[in-house]
């Protein structure tokens, strides 16, 4: 009965001050949305980042550090220090313990996007996210020497479609003056967006990469010696070297043993890295930034809670008359103090509810835009236990801060003179 009375009194009091409290509630809602949003984005970005490549057990390249190898093969950042010989790739391919290999050859570009020379195994075996395969949004995977498949981001940004002809550039860089004009490539397909660096590259066959460099031995095209579509017909182009290879192993228990063997390969110095291990190390490096971000958001929530106390204390000064009336009608000091706590916690709960609604609406509206503009795949999912914990901490903190006005009111109302009688 007493609880019921306290609740109805508190709600009536909240309704009475709705204009001022709506503003307080808005501030609190915004800061809770920010806190929850940052935590949510942090886990989603981590998930999206650490699953940029999945299902690949080893990446094999020329001897280098694991982060360097990961960055240039998976993220298209930086350049390879050396290549690996085609014969080495063949030797690895003949090892029955390695189930599949995806060859990768880098070095050229198309209007600032990397050209990745590979084969059909890329489409067949490359996985990202939670074991998601690549798929073509339109067209087919390349089959001819001068066929090219575009990543979703390239097709979107440059507005290309299947059937168009592209001239790839020699070397990297956004504006290249040295273009493979004699060997235009035809777009045969466009990949589905993945939210990974796969979207930001164009894919050709190893033969295409080799063919377009015929006559370029001196670094520039020698007229008359370069390949043309007609000359390339029926010819077999075998590369001398590739940049790296993605490797899949069915018996995962052998991963470390195979890594060691490849690292000790007698033919040439190689590095085999575990992409998952390299990704987790890279994320650990960046972990400091995300923790700092969460810390700052925590302070935003604390600031709005302090704002809430300020408002409550201001209101308290104006409530002297109301409290006197409540006391005169028989309300105990404890009941009056509990009013503050109930009001404060209700406001916090309302703010949390609103923040959840804003967050859910925001993510569902912004996720297509984030994928297309930033390549970030953020999906709506149920909150995790730590996120619920973070959310629950807001009403708990609100209950704690409400103790300040509650205790002082309790003390004041006791001195009003009817304390003892009302308590009995």
């Amino acid at each position: 009965m007493k609880t019921h009375l306290a609740l109805s009194l508190a709600l009536a009091s909240l309704w009475h001050r709705r204009k001022v409290l709506a503003l307080v509630c808005l501030t609190l809602t915004l800061s809770v949305s920010l806190l929850l949003g940052i935590q949510y984005l942090r886990t989603e970005v981590k998930q999206s980042f650490t699953t940029t490549i999945s299902g690949t057990d080893l990446i094999v390249g020329a001897r280098s550090g694991q982060l360097n190898l990961l960055l240039y093969t998976v993220f298209h950042i930086g350049d390879a220090t050396n290549n690996i010989r085609w014969s080495t790739y063949q030797a690895l391919k003949n090892d029955s313990r390695l189930d599949w290999l995806i060859p990768i050859s880098l070095g050229d570009s198309y209007r600032g996007y990397r050209v990745v020379a590979t084969d059909e195994n890329f489409l067949k075996h490359f996985r990202y996210g939670r074991d998601l395969p690549l798929a073509l949004a339109e067209g087919i995977w390349f089959t001819g020497v001068f066929d090219v498949v575009l990543g979703a981001g390239v097709a979107r940004d440059l507005g290309h479609q299947t059937g168009e002809k592209l001239v790839l550039s020699h070397g990297g860089g956004r504006t290249s003056f040295s273009n493979h004009e004699d060997t235009p490539f035809t777009v045969t397909g466009v990949l589905e967006p993945t939210g990974t660096p796969v979207d930001q590259a164009v894919y050709i066959g190893l033969a295409g990469m080799e063919a377009m460099h015929v006559g370029w031995e001196s670094g520039v095209a020698i007229p008359g010696r370069t390949m043309t579509l007609e000359k390339a017909e029926g010819r077999d182009f075998v590369p001398e070297a590739i940049t790296a290879a993605f490797v899949g192993i069915d018996r995962k228990i052998l991963t470390f043993r195979l890594q060691r063997e490849i690292n000790q390969f007698a033919g040439e110095p190689l590095s085999a890295i575990l992409p998952g291990v390299a990704l987790s190390e890279l994320w650990r490096l960046m972990g400091q930034f995300e923790r700092a971000l969460l810390g700052i958001t925590g302070f935003v929530v604390i600031t709005s809670l302090i704002g809430l106390i300020a408002v409550l204390l201001t209101l308290q000064a104006q409530r002297a008359h109301e409290i006197a009336v409540l006391r005169a009608t028989g309300a105990s000091p404890a009941l009056i103090a509990s009013l503050y706590i109930i009001e404060c916690v209700s406001l916090a709960l309302l703010a949390c509810l609103l923040a959840l609604m804003i967050g859910a609406a925001g993510i569902s509206l912004a996720s297509p835009w984030l994928l297309t503009s930033y390549g970030l795949q953020i999906t709506l999912r149920p909150l995790t236990a730590p996120e619920w914990g973070l959310l629950a901490s807001v009403p708990v903190a609100a209950a704690l801060v409400s103790l300040i006005p509650a205790l002082s009111t309790w003390r004041q109302s006791k001195t009003l003179g009817f304390g003892e009688a009302a308590d009995q």
Binding site: R63, L67, G153, G276, V277
Partner: protein, 189 residues
Amino acid sequence: MTSNKLPAQILAAATILTAAPLSANASDNPGTHQHGHAELQVAISNNQVDLIFTSPAYNLLGFEHEARTGEQEASVKETIAWLRTTPLVNTPESSCRIQDADVHYEANTGDDDHRDQGHDHDEKPARHSDIEVSQSLTCSGLEGSNELTTPLTIRFPGLEHLSLEWVWPEGQGSGRLAQGESLFKLTTH
């Protein structure tokens, strides 16, 4: 190019900040050797565990030269026996049994003319030496659990950091244990 610009910048910054470690066991380069630091690689499939542990001998024995006193000889024998008979990773319930274990240790004899790399040893300049252990284990109750322990960081006070790398059905991951910490959680990343 608008997409991936932001992560690209962060990654570029990260590469500048990182001194990427070169992998050990090169076919033509000498392997890395860092006192106080060791590496444990664990591959898990069903209830099978395959592990490789590599450490400078100094971390486990306190010296890297050939055993010269009876005490040192006993210490080498005892350590190698321990490495051969103790599962280097275990479930919290200690359910792992060794199927196969191999300890590789070649103490340097000290008469090699190889120059020591600035370490402060009292004996003649000598090569570094490593201990490499590989074990195959069977652990019941491994499926469905993601917690493992290792006795290494408790058994060897000279081991300041143990780098962990693992491959398990959920994916690959890595971690690091400090001296005295024995429990680690397998996470995907």
